[in-house]
Symmetry: C2
Subunit: 384 residues, 2 copies
């Protein structure tokens, strides 16, 4: 195992009905809340009215940031920062999925700074602090409710960049699966792929002596697969609960500890794709992650052997490690396909003509560990 | 899954050599440290001198609380509180195993109160705050370095009682396996049993739909068993690392989430035994936990079937659930025996004549969920 530091101070409030605690929890941080609202069905479902009522009942004044989109845009972040400064906001409350939460994280960081918040994403400046954040998570997918990560898209430059700070950890996150039951099948499957990808990104990299970290990562993947019945039974609260907790643990840090490597190849390529094409994150990952894994398996198949055995209960027989590892990856792809998820770039509207540009974006991402365009091109060509 | 709240804000600094960060970390909390030192070999090994040097090099004044024993005693806690008040201590630093850490937790709580700290253990009063705590963990066992629990023995009354508060969470815990390599075989095995017991205490209780929580708990138990080579290779730093992280995760809360039950039957009985007889905690658990499990298995064998399959890879064949569950428990006992651990009360010097008194102590423990002496007597008689 490699040395590590782990700190995750998010207070998780988990279970059906727990949204009712929003007011009480938020009021501990002040009197004025910015409510970050995402586009989509939550307004119609009355979730935003309920959130505002809960906050107001706890004596808070609520200002709303409307219309945050999937792959949240820098423009929304700027508007949120403006609202925070104008209204002297004490806490930023995200109610939604990863888009609302990431937008809230970026707003909270920019509200405590006088310059351009995008500087933090390009690594031109380092932020010092942020307003507190509170979350009601309405979608099991990105794990943003318990992660240090924040990803924002800059439409002007076509870049989707990330920051990673301890102050991005929400003070509290309410995970109330009652709010998840209205998520349609396609987005539910995207959330399942997202959770598996978060866990799988680092499982195969770095130090291989991390016995417990591997068991926990495998536990997340196995749990998500055990929840697949959800896709035919969207209102099943037990499966929603289990999927939600797996998606949260997948990227709260605990599935990475001791590996000493952070090789999120699928994410860095997918960010380039969705910064450019606005593809749905889970669909992009469903295509790119297995392709990335196949590329990694050829270089270093050991952990892929373990993966095939422990996740799919496969037997190696006379296969070489690389063959067997790739058979495990094929089993994962078959599972994704059975969930209705795409496996090729063509299916998500990305054609070959942009590959070179995508590769250029990846190697220039300030957060990237890939400095050779050929790596990206190989991966893209293998899933076109 | 049952609704839950989870919060664990301990900053974990993990890995060989990390003890060197003690001064820097502690100095963030003030100028004056109480260094809680346990009896045993750490003084001779120079660990306490090193700790004091690190703190002083960071500009801190160090006051020492000497001679904390296994099953830490209320008298040490009183002395620590006196030292804190007299010296206006800012942070309590435990360097040691669970005994030093639990003593530090109780001292930190008592130092911010004017009454008798034992009142908090008898539930006569509720504490409001505590001094910050920092930890250098020198033994993989109790998980006190990342838990909300604190257990203290009152020699006068013969009681060993626990408190559970968020402020018992250390601000930071350094887990440096280099310091673990001098732990002898017997205590190493005790630590392995302690970690398995912490995880196993709740695995079998409450809601059975906690898919990921179960996987993580199983991961802890499997990891500890994978580390058994340690007993013949005490200096193996990789196995020390893995054992240490498993022992920490075993009781940081994450292996219990969503079950909605907290049935720590083996611990509550072992606390009564070691409050009375000062037995080594891990040895007491090695005897009592399997006996407690057998009692539970007869009432509700479902999870024991899962345990036998997933932990020991056993096949049920024509066995009933109770028979198969008990076969899993026997496999656990065989493993403990192979580690040189005791399986009967006779082996740890506890004889039948005290059973009634132990049962009385258990049902009167303010922290106990057992109100029927017969339950305790049945368990004790099954392992006498």
């Amino acid at each position: 195992m490699q040395n590590f530091e782990f700190y995750n101070s998010v207070r998780i409030i988990f279970g059906p009905g727990e949204m009712n605690r929003l007011g009480e929890l938020a009021a501990g941080y002040g009197k004025k809340a910015l409510l970050v609202k995402s586009e989509g069905p939550l307004e119609k479902l009355g979730v935003y009215k309920r959130a505002a009522d809960l906050l107001e009942s706890a004596g808070m004044t609520v200002v709303a940031l409307e219309g945050v989109t999937a792959n949240p845009k820098l423009e929304s972040v700027y508007e949120g920062i403006r609202l925070c400064k104008k209204n002297d906001i004490d806490i930023v409350i995200a109610v939604g999925g990863g888009s609302a939460i990431d937008c809230a994280k970026a707003v909270a960081m920019g509200a405590e700074d006088d310059g351009d918040v995008w500087d933090f994403f390009t690594h031109d400046r380092t932020p010092e602090k942020a307003l507190p954040i509170g979350v009601v998570s309405t979608l099991a997918a990105t794990g943003a409710e318990m992660s240090v990560h924040c990803v924002i898209s800059n439409v002007k430059t076509g870049h989707k960049y990330a920051t990673h700070y301890e102050f991005h950890l929400p003070k509290f996150s309410i995970i109330d699966a009652e709010l998840h039951t209205s998520v349609p099948k396609r987005l539910t499957a995207c959330g399942m792929v997202d959770a598996i990808t978060h866990t799988g990104e680092n499982y195969f990299a770095g130090d291989k002596s991390t016995l417990l970290t591997d068991r926990i990562a495998e536990g997340v993947i196995l749990t998500v697969m055990e929840c697949e019945g959800l896709l035919e039974d969207l209102g099943n609260i037990e499966l929603r609960n289990n999927h939600a907790w797996a998606a949260t643990i997948a990227i709260n840090g605990i599935t990475d500890l001791g590996r000493g490597a952070f090789e999120y190849g699928a994410h860095i390529i997918e960010h380039a794709l969705s910064g450019k094409f606005d593809v749905i994150h889970g669909e992009g990952l469903s295509v790119v992650h297995p392709a990335w894994l196949a590329y990694r398996c050829e270089k270093d198949p050991d952990k892929f052997v373990k993966f095939a055995k422990r996740i799919f209960g496969m037997e190696q027989g006379s296969m070489s490690d690389v063959e067997f590892g790739k058979a495990g990856i094929e089993a994962l792809k078959a599972r994704y396909k059975s969930w209705g998820m795409p496996l090729t770039l063509g299916e998500i509207g990305v054609d070959e003509s942009c590959f070179d540009e995508i590769a250029e974006i990846v190697v220039n991402d300030p957060d990237s560990f890939i400095d050779d365009k050929k790596v990206v091109l190989d991966v893209l060509n293998s899933c076109k």
